[in-house]
Symmetry: C2
Subunit: 167 residues, 2 copies
Amino acid sequence: MTRIAGTPLSDIDKKLAESLGYSGTQTAAVVGITYRQLDYWARTDLIRPSLSDASGSGSRRRYSYTDLLELKTIKKLLDAGIKLEQVRKVFDYLREHVTTDIASAHLVIEGESVQVCDDGELIDVLKNGQGVLNMVFSMSGVKNELEADVADIASEILDEQPHRRIG
Amino acid sequence: MTRIAGTPLSDIDKKLAESLGYSGTQTAAVVGITYRQLDYWARTDLIRPSLSDASGSGSRRRYSYTDLLELKTIKKLLDAGIKLEQVRKVFDYLREHVTTDIASAHLVIEGESVQVCDDGELIDVLKNGQGVLNMVFSMSGVKNELEADVADIASEILDEQPHRRIG
DNA sequence: TCACCATCTCACATTGCTGTAACTACGAAT
DNA sequence: ATTCGTAGTTACAGCAATGTGAGATGGTGA
């Protein structure tokens, strides 16, 4: 493909965006899940790549950094023994109630309901938990871990391709 | 069965029911699960009736009150979206670390580990939860609910058999 | 054009049940 | 004592959810 003068900027932006994101394989590696799992989650609408979705065989998915954070959170919940069905509910909620500063919050799951709390209200919520299971999840911890994982994978990729031109 | 002067029939029946425990069908009704589910859990060793286990077709399972408490707890965990596999782990732990006063405690599940905490340590445990999901569960709430359910079912059973011969 | 590799499709496995049709023990009736 | 009904257990088949692996398909860049 040749760069033509007058090419719409959006094409360039799109290319840039795609180069900035993470492929399916990279994403799976960073998050610590199998590619098949990532594929399954995308096809069943749990989480789709926000930069570019697949559109037929041969196309490429591109995951954003935020996608990685969500994926890591999903994995943590699964590791803790939560059913995927419940995880879907939690993310349905989270996507409707977008918090700007999710990393500083605690996620509180109480039966069917989900809340994002800071330390103060946390205790109250727990004290009221008569006969229900309260699940508390610190998002900042997940973000820290993700940062480390991304760095690991990034350096691996650079090591594997030392010939790549950096302009 | 002999009627003793001065003792209300319901008391005798209740005592008898408690001494003999609860049948599979009764247990399922009290706990709020299907009989098939209860059967599955017994056959797969999640929880077996402690008074008398099944031993071939036609035999009878007999569940104790403590069994009911455990079953109710299991149901609560499942309702909260916990995988049965994780529930098995939690109960493996609980059966090894029997607490005399389980009803006044909180159950704290953190990844693979399980703890029984009271309010004081609870907060500390949660504050340390960097990137892991903490699940907190009040056992006293479950016990209260169970008591009500048992009373309901007991009266239902008595109502259904008003024709029972006495003497 | 060709190689590469991500995506897609299909088949199969496991878990956690559910439904149904035997099967059997126990108590009551005969 | 024998028969009989009922309630509970068992065996077996099947279902949905959640994947996994192998191989076909098809963009993309050199």
